[in-house]
Amino acid sequence: MTCGGFRVRYRDDERIFDTHLPVAGLLVLIGALSVVPFIASTYWLDVLNRIGIAIIGAIGLNILIGFTGQISIGHAAFLAVGAYTTAVLEAHLGLPFYLAIPAAALVTAVFGLLFGLPSLRLKGLYLAIATLAAHFITTYVIIHWEGMTGGVLGLLVPTPTLFGLALDSDARIFYVIFACVIPATFFAKNLFRTKVGRAFIAIRDRDVAAQVIGVSLFKYKLLAFSISSFYAGIAGGLMAHHSRILFSDAFTLLVAIDYLAMIIIGGMGSILGSIFGAIFMTLLPEILKLTATSLSGVYPQSFGLIASSRDVIFGLAIITFLIFEPEGLARIWMRIRTYWQLWPYAY
């Protein structure tokens, strides 16, 4: 148990974990995660896989919006680019998935850089609309470039294989997904201990002042878009393998809004917030669905009413969070943690 903060070296100040207990806890968590596929049903593995993909996507979006302050609603487009590029690289060029996904993420990063160019001149709402252009252009290309993307018929994603083992079940994809989630989270956490991360935060807080003290807005804004799109590319590539078929209706504007809701509810400007938000947004529909399905077994006529309530509950959740806890689930978690750390003292 810590008591106050007494540090003599800069290195100690920069540590992610002050004590060894959280590290041990994380190792236990990773160990538990590796055992999960043996005990969970396909349905819950599917949910966990989607949570993993959402975590990567949400961290990417949080880097852009939460840490750098650049509002973007084009995230679905970047996911789509990542997903389709992965599928095309594997189907047409025969690349194995562990090369195709990073390559696709790089392509998405370049794509994000291009669509991030408006951020050099626009801010806030105007930038949001400019990123919307990315979304519409991508959707249009997907539908019309039929030779590459299969157009409206969709693209079947080849099954990934590792040393001859076909990764065609949720249990096997689980390992791939979480093998990406863990480094992604650590990279993002580390990013904000470095100069680049501090530059991002400076741009969010006061970009004019940042520019005055020498932070190159050009370089760091575009870097933020690239890194965020790289994350989206990885998430998209994993999504392609998880759902096994890609088609034009899969990446609607609603997906971008879902990710936005994830980071708002989870907490903008916080990696832990992205994780919480991703878990919340993925689990809530599942819980609602289970409730609706089981209740409809008993009261069949109620199905319509309960199933439609999903959107109402989401809206309420977002509004409630913005009123009572604007900093999201991460802040709530910190408050609970601090309460127990300092108990019985108030501070």
Binding site: G151, I245, A250, S294, S296, F303, A307
Partner: protein
């Protein structure tokens, strides 16, 4: 305030808990069907009636004794027209509920689940009538629940050819369709068939899925002056096209596909709906067919104040087909057994709610017959019965 909040919460939790615990209390040996609907997405206006129709039909058949004594159970999931939710729901259907058949809904869920159902061997009776689902060699477990879109567009072109009297020139047609998988499904087939029978396709206009204004597309189309136009989009968008067309003074006859019009179109489109024709795959509410009285009685008994447009009839129709297939499997209750039972249906009488259904192991087109309706004086008037031969070259297109 704090206390009443706690009371309300506990009541809600009790209801939920009761609901979640009751699976154990349900009768053993019930047959489960997966049910996917869209109640919150872009096709929710139809989804509501389809969902209601399915729930009512299942209740009705259970009242009549179920299937060989076993009760029918719907495992319903609302998926908001978003494919990932459909895939997640399907995984649960197969793993936990062990469904024998999935009552699919529309194009996104059907397309997304195509590889899965073929691998798991679960028949998929879909509301998506895409021509790509009709070839058992490519999609052995997909069963479109009605006359496929490609056959519909060919029916339209035949109608144009047959009613064209001017020998001086060829009839001119145009297609207006939504920019998504559903809208585009029959267009390739339409282009090929138009060329084949000598009808001139002068224009194609693409409209967004959610349509608020079609003026720019219609102005472009007006320049080409088509005599007949085929609209392939949803009931929500068709009135917009029709009203804008009336505003722009276009002199063309519109024919709408089965999902583009129903009892509400005349009231939604007003005067613009006059003279518009549509291809009907199901009977309309109140039509003089044998099964209509059963539906109307059941509807009045359970929820007399609810809507009952043609999607409601579709809900009943698909459950009826599923029930018949399940009855025919007898004891061989597996996905493959149900598939074979479906493929044994020959001119199956659906109480007149639709044309008789025939599925064969080589051909998953349920029917190639339909009725053309015309909207006159705000009412849907049956105009003619049309039929296309079961040309095997058209399978899967």
């Amino acid at each position: 305030m704090h206390k009443s909040f706690v009371y309300v919460c506990s009541v809600v939790l009790l209801l939920v808990g009761f609901g979640m615990l009751s699976p154990e209390a349900r009768a053993q040996g019930s047959i489960k069907l997966g049910n996917l609907v869209d109640l919150t997405g872009p096709t929710s206006d139809q989804g509501k009636d389809i969902s209601q129709g399915r729930i009512d039909a299942v209740q009705y058949f259970n009242q009549k004794g179920g299937i060989n004594g076993k009760k029918l159970e719907l495992v319903s999931v609302e998926y908001g027209f978003q494919p990932p939710r459909a895939v997640a729901a399907y995984k649960k259907f197969v793993e936990e509920d062990k469904v024998l058949l999935v009552l699919g809904y529309g194009t996104p869920d059907t397309e997304a689940l195509r590889p899965y159902i073929t691998k798991d061997k679960i028949p998929y009776l879909s509301g998506s009538y895409s021509g790509h689902l009709t070839d058992p060699k490519q999609t052995p477990y997909n069963f479109p629940g009605g006359i496929d879109y490609s056959t519909q567009i060919r029916i339209f072109l035949n109608h144009v050819k047959e009613t064209w009297t001017d020998t001086g020139r060829k009839p001119r047609v145009a297609f207006i369709y939504a920019d998504n998988a559903y809208g585009r499904a029959p267009i390739e087939a339409g282009r090929a068939y138009a060329k084949e029978i000598g009808v001139e396709l002068v224009d194609e206009q693409i409209i967004p899925t959610v349509l608020t204004d079609a003026t720019s597309q219609l102005l472009n189309m007006k320049k080409k002056d088509p005599d007949f136009v085929y609209i392939n989009t949803n009931t929500q968008c068709v009135p917009v096209v029709l009203k804008d067309s009336l505003k722009l003074g276009l002199k063309t006859t519109y024919v709408v596909n089965n999902y583009g019009f129903d009892e509400r179109t005349p009231s939604l489109a007003g005067d613009a709906a006059e003279g518009v024709m549509g291809i009907a795959d199901v009977a309309f509410w109140g039509d003089d067919v044998p099964g209509m009285q059963t539906l109307m009685d059941f509807h009045k008994e359970s929820h007399p104040n609810d809507t009952h447009n043609s999607p409601y009839m579709r809900g009943w129709l698909w459950v009826m087909v599923a029930v018949e297939a399940l009855k025919r499997t007898g004891d061989n209750l597996s996905g493959e057994g149900v598939k074979e039972a479906l493929e044994s249906l020959r001119d199956f009488d659906t109480w007149g709610l639709s044309q008789p259904f025939t599925y064969t192991p080589e051909d998953h087109r349920p029917t190639t017959k339909a009725r053309l309706y015309t909207i006159k004086g705000g009412k849907l008037i049956p105009t003619r019965a049309v039929e296309l031969p079961r040309n095997l070259a058209w399978l899967g297109k």
